[in-house]
Amino acid sequence: MTEQMTRKKINSRIAEEIDRNLRQAFDDMAEQPVPDRFTDLLAQLKAAESTRKGGGEKDA
């Protein structure tokens, strides 16, 4: 009952406001420049794969 009463108090405007604030905080975080460690990592994974493919097929 208490829980339901709490729910009833939430109207769409409040829900939107909560989401908007949350979205803003997350977008700000998500838009931060990607650290080199991640771009390096992806480049390494890619390089490792092309080495595997291009070089001898030792595991084939």
Binding site: R7, A15, E17, D19, N21, D28, Q32, V34, L41
Partner: protein
């Protein structure tokens, strides 16, 4: 057909934000993102093309987080409130919410509710996508999001003097699930 792995870079920002909301520690969060990227790269054949890659990555990240947490529970829970720092550095331009209060309230939510609200409210996943990420039913996600919003509103005293009958879609979903007597 383009290699879906080319798309991974685009999601790093979202992954970091999601990781931070789970770990609440920036170093742990980035380790989690790193592990997620390696897993995604090496398991890319499990990704169904045409589906939401971000949701797929979130699933990997979340599973990795919970298995790591089981392994070293205490370490991961030693949060430094980075989410809060990030929130606190931003002025709340047009928003009425005081971001510091919001952060404090947000941190008080149970993990399951916070996660559901982050996925749906902040990251914009559809309910069914969020349900899949968390491995629960769609109704469970709807109910968690509804309770999370209600709790935040309560903690921030947003509901004072509000006697509106209008409910948001989530509340309608939850309340509407009752037998129609």
């Amino acid at each position: 057909m383009p290699d879906p792995r080319e798309e991974l870079t685009e999601h790093i920002g979202s992954l970091r934000a999601f990781a931070l909301s789970l770990t609440r520690n920036s170093a742990t969060a980035d380790d989690l993102v790193q592990e997620t990227l390696v897993k995604a790269w090496t398991n890319i054949e499990k990704f169904e093309s045409g589906t939401n890659m971000r949701a797929w990555l979130f699933t990997i990240l979340r599973n990795t987080f919970y298995s790591l947490r089981r392994k070293r529970k205490r370490e991961v829970e030693d949060a430094d409130g980075t989410m809060g720092e990030s929130l606190a550095t931003k002025p709340d331009h047009d928003g009425r919410l005081n971001l510091r209060d919001f952060k404090v309230a947000f941190d008080q939510l149970p993990d399951t509710q916070r996660e559901a609200l982050v996925l749906v409210g902040a990251q914009g996943l559809a309910y069914d996508e969020a349900a899949e990420v968390c491995g629960v039913a769609v109704g469970t996600i709807k109910s968690r999001v509804g309770r999370a919003r209600a709790r935040l509103a309560e903690l921030m005293h947003l509901s004072e003097n509000e006697t509106l009958e209008i409910t948001d879609a989530v509340t309608v979903g939850v309340v509407g699930a009752r037998p129609a007597a």
